[in-house]
């Protein structure tokens, strides 16, 4: 059964000169329950537009999106969103940020605290519950973002270049963290990235997109992330011939189009 269905989606927007730009042209996509789908493409290929449409922040010109069979026309708790950086509320503590969705639903304080602790532990930030957001490093903030989205118990987790603003070391740690969380929570994940290695490592399904107009050019079934979860070290996976070959294949697909 598919958790998310993207059905012949087309979308245009006007740039600052008023010219109409086609961000997406007839994009269709099936995302299975429990899948880890990664969308990869250079900037301008419409991947962020696609994610915003699935999140419900915008309405598509043509086509439709369903989540669990329901048509999407606005944001909702069934889709949790993690942004690239800093959408945490600086006037709240780490714990209050994580409990934000429950506060909106009127969950009693004691229950909010208990639930927040669970997700703080999941992302390894239990000692920082009462810290303020501005006291945390970039990597820790992204972990709080993850915990906040997960605490709303979404069907689908939408990740918009979640590690894009992090340094390379932190990025690798976060990749392992997101795989562990995915395995533990069994959420469906739709993630956007421009890092080829990250995409090949994490995805169970890799969707390659090309720009002008944004469209899907290839989808690949992968399983390197699953190998990590069954105990193989991440660095060894990434240096295996099979991984390198796949990475180079994806890179060629992206760069060959650029030169043509």
């Amino acid at each position: 059964m598919s958790a998310v269905t993207v059905h012949h989606l087309s979308h245009s927007y006007s740039d600052h000169t008023g010219r109409s730009i086609q961000a997406l042209a007839d994009v269709s996509l099936q995302i299975d329950n429990g899948a880890f789908v990664v969308i990869l493409g250079e900037s301008g290929c419409g991947k962020t537009t696609l994610l915003k449409l699935v999140a419900g922040f915008m309405k598509p010109d043509k086509g439709a999106i369903t989540v669990d069979g329901h048509m999407i026309d606005r944001p909702g708790v069934d889709r949790g969103v993690v942004f690239q950086s800093d959408t945490l509320y600086p006037w709240l503590t780490v714990r209050e940020n994580i409990a934000f969705s429950q506060r909106l639903r009127g969950v009693p304080r004691r229950e909010r605290v208990r639930s927040a602790v669970r997700f703080l532990e999941l992302v390894g930030l239990a000692p920082f519950a009462d810290h303020h957001v501005w006291q945390l490093s970039g990597g820790m903030r992204q972990r709080v973002e993850l915990a906040r989205a997960l605490n709303a118990d979404p069907e689908v987790l939408l990740l918009d270049e979640p590690f894009g603003a992090l340094d390379a070391l932190m990025r690798e740690q976060m990749q392992e963290l997101i795989l562990n969380i995915w395995a533990q929570t069994k959420k469906t994940v739709l993630m956007i990235t421009h890092s080829i290695e990250e995409a090949v490592f994490l995805a169970t399904r890799l969707v390659l997109m090309s720009p002008r107009p944004g469209r899907v050019v290839e989808t690949l079934q992968l399983s390197f992330g699953g190998r990590y979860l069954t105990g193989t070290d991440a660095r060894s996976i990434k240096s295996e011939p099979a991984f390198v070959a796949q990475r180079e294949h994806v890179a060629r697909r992206i760069f060959s189009r650029e030169s043509s």
């Binding site: 944001p75 708790v77 969103v81 800093d86 006037w91 909106l104 709303a152």
Partner: protein, 291 residues
């Protein structure tokens, strides 16, 4: 519409500058020339105040200026003690101060109560902004004192007129700052809350309002300053108590030492307001400027 927005932004910038360049804190001076001044910025300020006091004292002690025009510091201090304990025109100093503070804080409460909700609506809705903007832009550039005759015709010479005049001075900056703060709310903060299940009202309450609070506080600070400087004028109208009334009566009886003392009290309270607002900012928006 565009012009209006420009003006709003300029007002907001003023508020922010006011936030950074706080007199007496001296940070700006220190940064200008580190280690060159043997006195710190604060020391220089105190030295300047001391020098002015000595000149004042010298001018009166040497009888360069008649005491009717400029009473000595000692005479002003004595008038302070006398008005404090015995009172002046049927009220003690604390009663005059109390009457003035009651008026300004009543007007402030009404101004906040109207301007913040109105500003939230105007910040979110273009239509509401289009309706409210002309009214604010009409009110803002006119000195509140200019309304005084009209207010007296409409509301008489009672307490209502005084509070309404102060309200007119306080209301526009708070409204404008609220709108600026609301419009500056990060779209990502709003999107994030909607994805977490926030209804439009909850977005206002839990995201837009806290995000606009630093700007609202800056507006309250501007409004309080503007209102306080309108106070004397408000209390010229058939008042029996208040600092403005006290000064006015003292001037009519040529009791210059009470006039000068009253001016110093007004200045001191204005200075205390600044401290109060800074404290409010530290308590309510400790996160501001740290992200």
């Amino acid at each position: 519409m565009n012009e209006v927005h420009e003006v709003n932004t300029a007002t907001h910038t003023d508020a922010v500058i006011g936030n950074v360049e706080i007199p007496g804190r001296g940070g700006g001076y220190r940064n200008a020339q580190p280690g060159r001044l043997w006195l710190g910025g604060r020391g220089l300020s105190l030295a300047m105040i001391g020098a002015l006091l000595i000149m004042w004292w010298g001018a009166t002690a040497l009888r360069i200026v008649p005491s009717l025009f400029l009473p000595s510091p000692g005479a002003v201090a004595r008038s302070f003690v006398k008005v404090w304990s015995e009172g002046f025109v049927d009220a003690t100093l604390m009663q005059h101060v109390g009457a003035s503070l009651a008026r300004i804080f009543t007007a402030l409460a009404f101004a906040i109560g109207v301007a913040v909700p109105l500003g939230l609506v105007a910040g979110v809705s273009k239509a509401a902004r289009a309706m409210i903007d002309p009214i604010v832009e009409f009110l803002r550039p006119i000195p509140p004192l200019a309304y005084l005759p009209l207010i007296i015709i409409w509301c008489g010479i009672g307490e209502v007129s005084k509070i309404l005049l102060l309200w007119l001075a306080i209301f526009p900056p708070i409204l404008i700052s609220t709108v600026v703060g609301v419009k500056a709310t990060s779209q990502q903060w709003i999107d994030a809350s909607r994805a977490l299940g926030a209804t439009p009202v909850q977005v206002l309450r839990f995201v837009v309002l806290p995000s606009a609070l630093p700007s609202i506080l800056a507006g309250i600070r501007l409004g309080l300053g503007g209102g306080w400087s309108t106070l004397v004028a408000a209390e010229l109208v058939a008042a029996t108590r208040g600092l403005g009334f006290m000064i006015q009566s003292a001037a009519q009886f040529l009791v210059t030492d009470v006039v000068v003392m009253g001016i110093l009290v007004i200045a001191t309270i204005a200075f205390a307001f600044e401290g109060l607002m800074r404290l409010a900012e530290r308590i309510l928006v400790p996160w501001y400027g740290k992200t």
